[in-house]
């Protein structure tokens, strides 16, 4: 019984921390992009706009919830919730430091891939249930994009699993003691990074919500907190992808253990790595223009998937030889 209570407490802590981080990642993005474009970003609410996420949250909560005529109501209601649930449950297997994780399961990486595929339903269903052409096109684009890049992402992680000999995220971190996998698997790292951007529908692969073509894509008809949930799912998804990249390629919670660095809590190293990836997301958004849809598909199927397959073969050969 006491174990159960501890587990519930752990889940509450992780969800609370993640939601807080998600709120401030939005602020971080606006600030970073603002400074990259020689603007200041949010400045009005609180010092340097620090209370902006709270103001946004309150605004979203009190906005009117509009449901379009002839929308499929049950699915319209479920779609955003599904996205948030899939993104948040992924945090269950991420090891934050040696002794803190909610579930230590042997199929950790596969679990995350499974949840990311469930999460893609949220966007497809939102597009269909809204009964609007923009939403529908956004949903279709997203489903094709996510299915295509999921293959590249899964294949890029195979190299990591081969090196670690396990799909358990704790084992993967343990296998990187000393040398992070990014040095052994640079190709897989590159493919994963690009596939992660496409999976979370972020620029330059944000065709599902390309505002110049599709208003806001799958989220066009959503308003108030339901729209807020999509926002939350997207940023939580970015957070999950960054956490996986940190755990699989940069050694997770491990950091330098000499001098003063040895006294830094391990979770700080993980968070630093995660935020480095999140900064990379913003940086790429501020730098690159949006891809065309056929370019995106060509890139995924003719470049990333063969590259990831070649990486598996090379890794297997080297592993056999050594």
């Amino acid at each position: 019984m006491i174990e159960f209570a501890i587990l519930i407490l752990k889940i509450a802590i992780v969800i609370g921390a993640v939601l807080l981080h998600v709120a401030y990642v939005v602020y971080f993005e606006r600030k970073v992009i603002g400074h990259m474009q020689s603007r200041l970003g949010p400045m009005r609410v609180g010092p340097h706009g620090l209370l902006q996420p709270i103001a946004d949250g309150i605004k979203l909560f009190f906005k009117e919830d509009i449901i379009p005529a002839h929308a499929d109501k049950p699915i319209f209601y479920i779609a955003p919730v599904l996205g948030v649930v899939a993104a948040l449950s992924s945090f269950a297997v991420i090891p934050f430091w040696e002794s803190f994780h909610i579930a230590d399961i042997n199929i950790g990486l596969l679990y995350i891939l499974a949840l990311s595929s469930v999460g893609s339903y949220s966007i497809i269903l939102a597009g269909w249930a809204s009964n609007s052409k923009y939403s529908f096109l956004g949903g279709l684009r997203s489903s094709a994009q996510v299915i295509s890049y999921e293959i590249a992402m899964g294949l890029s992680l195979v190299g990591v699993m081969m090196l670690a000999g396990s799909a358990n995220l704790r084992d993967i971190v343990a296998a990187q003691s000393g040398i992070p996998f990014i040095l052994f698997q640079p190709i897989a790292f590159f493919v994963f990074l690009m596939a992660a951007i496409a999976e979370t529908n972020r620029a330059p692969f944000d065709m599902p919500e390309a505002e110049s073509e599709l208003v806001a894509g799958y989220a066009t008809e959503y308003s108030g907190m339901r729209f807020g949930l999509f926002f939350m799912a997207e940023y939580a998804g970015m957070f999950v992808m960054s956490a996986i990249a940190s755990v699989c390629f940069l050694g997770g919670w491990s950091g330098p253990d000499f001098w003063l660095f040895a006294h830094v809590p391990k979770v700080v190293w993980l968070l630093l790595k995660i935020y480095a990836f999140i900064f990379f997301y913003f940086w790429i958004r501020a730098t690159l223009p949006r891809y065309r849809y056929d370019q995106l598909m060509n890139l995924g199927w003719k470049f990333f998937i063969p590259l990831a397959l070649a990486n598996i073969v090379i890794t297997a050969l080297i592993k056999l030889a050594v």
Binding site: D72, P74, I75, I78, I105, N106, I107, L110, Y111, L113, A114, L115, S116, S117, V118, S120, Y121, I124, L125, W128, F136, G139, L140, S143, A144, I147, E150, G154, M161, S166, A167
Partner: protein, 171 residues
């Protein structure tokens, strides 16, 4: 009832109920959604049987790939029109006949069904000590190599078939 029995009873009832919901929905997208819940329950049943790898594959392959493609097709078809077409209205009779035939085939086998079959080469302890992914991989690439390769060949043929069919009208 013990806890495992309660779990199994839940899965048995839920799986049957959900399958019925899948085939009785008028709106095919709702049918697909119930099927998603059905697949998640199947994965839960696998987890309950200690087959965690199979559970993950169930979600990744069935829910993540196959069902999304179903959803794609179902959303693009004009189903209101198809519902009115004659040849799709009486198809259930064929389905009923086929399922009754299968059921009669199953009845003689019911007597041979045993809850505790004789243990095979792979005990739970052995699989857990080796790791499930490794066990499945080893068996697939040694003992069942030929069936595995045949399956991959069939898949390759269907991929080539799809490419040929869709590219014929181009040029």
């Amino acid at each position: 009832m013990t806890l495992p029995q309660i779990f199994f009873a839940y899965f048995a009832v839920a799986l049957t109920g959900l399958s019925l919901l899948v085939v009785t929905r008028r709106n095919p997208v709702h049918g697909v959604m119930w099927m998603l819940i059905l697949f998640i329950h199947v994965a839960g049943l696998y987890l309950f049987l200690n087959a965690e790898f199979l559970a993950a594959i169930q979600i990744i392959v069935y829910a993540g790939a196959i069902l999304v493609l179903y959803l794609f097709v179902v959303m693009l078809l004009n189903l209101k029109k198809i519902e009115k077409e004659r040849k799709f209205q009486h198809i259930w009779i064929v389905g009923l006949l086929v399922s009754v035939a299968f059921l009669t085939l199953l009845i003689p086998l019911l007597g041979k069904f045993s809850v505790y079959p004789p243990p095979g080469e792979y005990s739970v302890e052995r699989i857990n000590s080796e790791g499930q992914i490794m066990t499945v991989g080893r068996v697939l690439y040694t003992k069942f190599l030929l069936p595995f390769e045949i399956a991959s060949l069939i898949l390759l043929v269907s991929i080539i078939g799809a490419v040929v069919l869709s590219k014929r009208k181009l040029n």
